[in-house]
């Protein structure tokens, strides 16, 4: 688990393959070729890049039009501006209109660290989750990012794919097959369940390791698809373990943790702890500093587990 990867590389590689095999695939960017790591793509397919400039509302509208014209647009730009500036365009032009556009939010979560709250994208999942018909995927590593790209290309309808730039190790075993809407169990356990996605899957696995040293067996689920949500896997965890911890690089208001809680509380209530960013604008700091500051680390998971188990 030592070598770490920037998932934007897997994103770019998959996109080049898709463009090579499907001539309808186009990339739509907002002065974000470099920040999306699409320089190689631009070199290989210069005529398949539509750069609207720094104009996110236009970006989404243009993508909807491209889809209407028979293209398969993949929009790529910093997640904070895409999902924030263009929320209503995403709602109406893409979701309400069932446009076949893939919105790929780069450098999501707090990947921009020191650049501050304006550039953090911790609200994106909650915003997108409030919109009907948006499929939401938060891959954990380069393997899953790559596979998710191929999966959403086959999928008909608007998708929000959340890609980080924070280096992560490969967390999935050889032969892993990503499926939209399916949670995957990465570790067995019957005491509690840790549900994670994105950059926090690695942290969840480390937390489970720490708990194992204290005699607590934690199940770890990677819930990469936040919508449609895998009810079955969540309810199985709720009935087979004593509590659920969710951990994600997002606000705890309405993101993946909230989605899990909605399922749990209405069907099989068990105690939960939601780890993430608790509704505050972050102080200045690097990504790793901020993860520790907000307890998004193995120790934070241990603390939450102890609370749930009454230790």
């Amino acid at each position: 688990m030592s070598e770490k990867f920037d998932c934007r590389d897997a994103f770019g590689k998959a996109l080049e393959e898709l463009a090579a095999s499907d001539e309808r695939v186009v990339v739509v960017v907002n002065d974000s070729v470099g920040s999306s790591k699409l320089n190689a793509f631009k070199k290989a397919f210069p005529e398949r890049v539509v750069n609207v400039g720094i104009a996110e509302q236009d970006l989404i509208g243009v993508s909807a039009g491209l889809a209407n014209g028979g293209k398969r647009p993949f929009v790529s730009g910093a997640s904070c501006f895409l999902t924030g500036r263009a929320t209503e365009q995403i709602k109406v032009d893409l979701a309400y209109s069932h446009a076949n556009v893939k919105v790929c939010g780069m450098s999501s979560g707090i990947a921009y660290g020191e650049l501050g709250a304006s550039h953090h994208s911790i609200e994106d999942i909650a915003w997108m989750r409030a919109i009907a018909d948006m499929t939401i995927i938060v891959p954990a590593d380069p393997v899953e990012t790559y596979q998710a790209m191929h999966a959403i290309h086959k999928f008909d309808g608007p998708v929000f794919l959340r890609v980080s730039r924070y280096p992560v190790p490969v967390v999935h075993p050889e032969g892993y097959q990503f499926e939209i809407g399916k949670a995957v169990q990465l570790r067995e356990g019957s005491d509690i369940t840790i549900i994670a996605n994105g950059t926090m899957v690695t942290v969840a696995l480390q937390g489970a390791e720490l708990l194992a040293q204290q005699g607590i067996q934690a199940r770890v689920l990677n819930l990469a698809t936040v919508r449609p949500i895998d009810q079955q896997a969540i309810l199985k965890a709720a009935s087979e373990t004593k509590g659920i911890i969710t951990i994600e690089e997002a606000t705890t208001s309405g993101s993946m943790g909230g989605a899990v809680a909605e399922v749990v509380v209405q069907n099989q209530p068990v105690p939960m702890r939601l780890l993430g960013f608790p509704g505050v604008f972050m102080p200045t700091g690097s990504v790793s500093f901020l993860f520790d500051y907000f307890g998004l680390n193995p120790a934070g998971i241990e603390k939450a587990a102890f609370e749930l188990l009454g230790r």
């Binding site: 470099g34 400039g53 020191e114 200045t284």
Partner: protein, 283 residues
């Protein structure tokens, strides 16, 4: 009470020039220390900001929320390095605080926030926020029948955001002659030239068509900038658009006009060379 601070302002362009190079040197050192920053855009906007803060604006660092102060809104908030350096040199906070730029828990966040430091009117960073904000505060000044003036500095690539044009339209509609937008027209954005990305020209004509009084100026000529900013509004009942022709990376030969220097950080060797070019006296 409103105190006019003309006495404290520098009116000798040569002194403004020297000040702007002192600020450039400090700023470049700060960026290299933090290993983060927007080298090109900072150097591009430094002369405009220095002229405004040291030669024009009616602001009082000891009373930064004086309701009658002039308002300066840096819409291209990624150029926080230049902005913070100038605010510190102008006395809004201690110069030593610049050492904490982008460090953990520092108020000197990568993009300026009005909740973190005195002297900052608007939290910026996401492009296209400054001009609408400027229209609002200019309308408020009109409502108060106040002589205070509003200056908004935008990037040129930034003008691709539609919000600017929505604001441009309303500024003319409301006859906001107390509002001046200064466009840092360096011809570059993040990944390419503006004209290769999403063409802005004919830019002056666009602003004129939106009802603004347009003037073009060399954005590195302190004398010209000072004279112009002292004179605005140029036309009663019309907002002023200053198209400031600038160079991204002005002052450092290997940064100047280069696409790759939007947010590249200098190496120690590059910094040493840059400081010589920026006039640092060698020991």
């Amino acid at each position: 009470m409103f105190i006019y601070l003309e006495d404290t302002l520098i009116t000798d362009p040569k002194l403004l020039y020297e000040k702007s190079y002192e600020i450039r040197r400090h700023n470049m050192k700060t960026i290299v220390k933090a290993k983060l920053g927007h080298t090109g855009g900072d150097l591009s906007v430094t002369d405009i900001l220095t002229t405004l803060y040291f030669g024009v604006l009616n602001v009082d660092p000891s009373n930064p929320t004086d309701p009658e102060r002039d308002r300066l809104i840096l819409s291209k908030g990624h150029c926080s390095g230049a902005f913070y350096t100038i605010l510190a040199y102008r006395g809004f906070f201690p110069v030593e605080m610049l050492d904490t730029y982008e460090q953990a828990l520092s108020p000197l966040n990568g993009h300026p926030s009005n909740t973190k430091l005195p002297g900052i009117e608007a939290s910026t960073g996401p492009l296209g926020h400054g001009l609408p904000f400027g229209v609002g505060t200019a309308i408020a000044a009109k409502m108060d029948k106040s002589p205070r003036r509003v200056f908004v500095i935008t990037g040129d690539g930034e003008l691709q955001e539609g919000s600017n044009w929505e604001a441009a339209m309303s500024a003319a509609h409301h006859k906001l002659d107390n509002l001046t937008v200064i466009i840092d027209r360096n011809g570059l954005q993040q990944g390419d030239y503006t004209e290769a990305t999403n063409r802005l020209e004919p830019l002056a004509d666009k602003w004129r068509a939106f009802g603004w009084e347009v003037v073009e100026v060399d954005g590195h000529d302190h004398a010209a900038l000072l004279d112009l900013f002292q004179r605005v509004p140029l036309q009663k009942g019309k907002p002023t658009c200053v198209l400031a022709h600038t160079h991204k990376g002005q002052g450092v030969s290997f940064v100047k006009d280069q696409v790759g220097w939007h947010h590249r950080v200098m190496t120690q060797e590059e910094l040493a060379q840059a400081l010589v070019e920026l006039g640092e006296v060698q020991a």
